[in-house]
Subunit: 271 residues, 2 copies
Amino acid sequence: MNKSAPIGIFDSGVGGLTVMRKLIQGMPEENIIYFGDTARVPYGNKSKETIIHYTRQIVRFLESQNVKAIVIACNTASAYALDDIRKETEIPIIGVIEPGAYAAAAATRNGKIGIIGTYATIHSGAYESFLSQINPDFEIYKQACPLFVPFVEEGLFEDDLTDQIIARYLTEIKRENIDTLLLGCTHYPLIKTAIERFMGENVICVDPGLNTAEMLRQILTKNNLLNTSFSQEKANYLFYVSDPAARMTEFANQIMPFSIGKIQKINIEEY
Amino acid sequence: MNKSAPIGIFDSGVGGLTVMRKLIQGMPEENIIYFGDTARVPYGNKSKETIIHYTRQIVRFLESQNVKAIVIACNTASAYALDDIRKETEIPIIGVIEPGAYAAAAATRNGKIGIIGTYATIHSGAYESFLSQINPDFEIYKQACPLFVPFVEEGLFEDDLTDQIIARYLTEIKRENIDTLLLGCTHYPLIKTAIERFMGENVICVDPGLNTAEMLRQILTKNNLLNTSFSQEKANYLFYVSDPAARMTEFANQIMPFSIGKIQKINIEEY
């Protein structure tokens, strides 16, 4: 395997760019290919069967681009599809659930952890499963927040209505005296400030993206796949989507620390 | 063509059931096949290219079921795909835009008409185009309301947050002194009461579904396709989706005047 080959990362839409941002910060020498399934976003209300089917197509596409490792940035796809897809894939493939669970476990002091995410992620029980393995005494509280994704996609990061919907979803979980809140969806870091304001200063909001980047680095190191031959000024980043909707570029340029340039559309159903 | 063959009707998701309900009320003797593209919902933020591709696949599926006519219940698909798809199809195929425009034209007294819908429907200009043909003197005001669909899908038909988001989107259009508001998305009839409360009693909210059923009857009559051989106790209704998410059944049973029974999943990408 070529060490200078790119890392593949994908999400149901543009939310995974928050994870890609962490990868770039932690490993600026790595080339990266991003795929956003903008034609079929969101995944969070869909069935396990459909999510596995979509994830399989995307992994095939990324493999066709000769990536050396794959990051499933989407929590829903990580929760429902990672185990099945890993069996079918030769290259290292990681999701955000395991690193997110370890980050939350490291952050909590009182052992009371909240998890928020889409219906599918919450229903899957994936985060609890990892957290219970780390420490069976953790007390876990969870809440699906299905309207957070559309609010973020509308760019309502700081808005009175966003504050109200946060209060609607999180009032109960706040009452449980949790000290750690796992942001179990790639869109949620974009309203982290508003969530933290509601939860209060005693609650740490954990974004799995950071620990995912760290876990990927360990796996690349172990497999002798780190891009040590790096000599360019800036690594190479390529962006692909399944739907060429104009809003993607605008949204991506808000999230990324540089202008993302050209986004290429592919027909994902062919993979 | 067999007169007892079913009518095919589809939507990006479950919203089109509000149109199917009108078809059943107007033509209880007609057999109907419904398809909801639940694996790829929503369409409203997607590109014309993707919407035509998805519509083409669904029309092929419905044709494989030997339908005698097709209703595109989805406003976004009607706005972007009807003209292209009609050229490829032998059987009568209608959308909701033309009947909706005629219904609004018949309802207005002062000639000031508001149109609300998804980004794609509003951006397409399809409603204005028909309205201007009917009467070039109509004054038309339009507004995309992208958060209405997720609110409806969350079942927030009567909710303080729904009232606030309605006020957010419709305050400007209300100021224009319109007397008719076209509900240009199949989800919106489900929050019609809340929209009417905000707009006030001088504004008529037009649901294109009713006139679409009437227009379909005229087309079936003209083509000698009405199901005159009807003798069963109840017509035959079949429901198909592209994703078997459990919430579909629950939602459908809220909308339809009878329990919809079994919903079959098909792989729409194969069509």
